[in-house]
Assembly symmetry: C2
Homo-oligomer: 112 residues x 2
DNA sequence: GACGATACCTCGAACAACAAGGTATGTCAA
DNA sequence: TTGACATACCTTGTTGTTCGAGGTATCGTC
């Protein structure tokens, strides 16, 4: 009976994925490297993070996928749905809110 | 065997606590409300988060505590040690890094 | 003498993020 | 041709943070 809320800082991988996919269609393996690049190496998420999030995002209707064979290998390309764009908006707002809150707490002058 | 790193976004409660305690000595119950206030209501951490973090911070030598009786009730006041100030510096840098990385990823123009 | 605020604390569950592995194909060089 | 490395997909088990809910005790006040 312990109806717990998600941790207040979670969902950043989700946010990054949605954001990148809002710019262009991509496949999982590509996204792993894109996240590293887009964040200036600050954030590096492995396949063990990316694939499950991608799947859950698709299951919840935020993403749609299409498989494509490219030079013998199969790629699964993901793109945003309307719901996904909505979700992206929400996560962006959430992020701005908590980011702002922390900035607020940090910018108060030191004890000096 | 699976020597896992801490989640890349963790340690924000720790950061907030150290930051507030760098400004002034405080006790746990007070910190719960201070965090809400300092972040402009954006972040609200319960006692179930605060106390354990406080204890682990003390165990690791970042904080020191002193108990004080104030009008019949016991308060445990925490303050930073040198090590704690060092720790605060590190966490602040980490935060700026990941915050900047995300900002970078988000500010790229929309697919439009 | 019951209620709400203060003040401390711990427990168990939930869950995100993690490393490590496993499958299979392509390329290139030894 | 075989071995190594990159591409490309995936799942599993573990960890560790965070969470709500509870539990204790004192104080004021109604």
């Amino acid at each position: 009976m312990t109806q717990s809320n998600p941790p207040f800082m979670s969902g950043v991988p989700e946010l990054l994925l949605l954001r990148l996919l809002d710019q262009s269609e991509m496949y999982g393996y590509e996204l792993v490297r894109s996240i590293r690049a887009a964040t200036g190496e600050a954030i590096s998420l492995g396949e063990g993070v990316i694939y499950p999030v991608l799947h859950s995002l698709e299951r919840s209707g935020s993403l749609k996928s299409k498989r494509m064979a490219v030079s013998g290998r199969t790629r699964v390309y993901y793109s945003l749905t309307g719901k996904g764009r909505q979700r992206l908006g929400k996560l962006q707002d959430d992020w701005r809110r908590i980011q702002g809150g922390i900035a607020n707490a940090l910018e108060v002058p030191s004890h000096a």
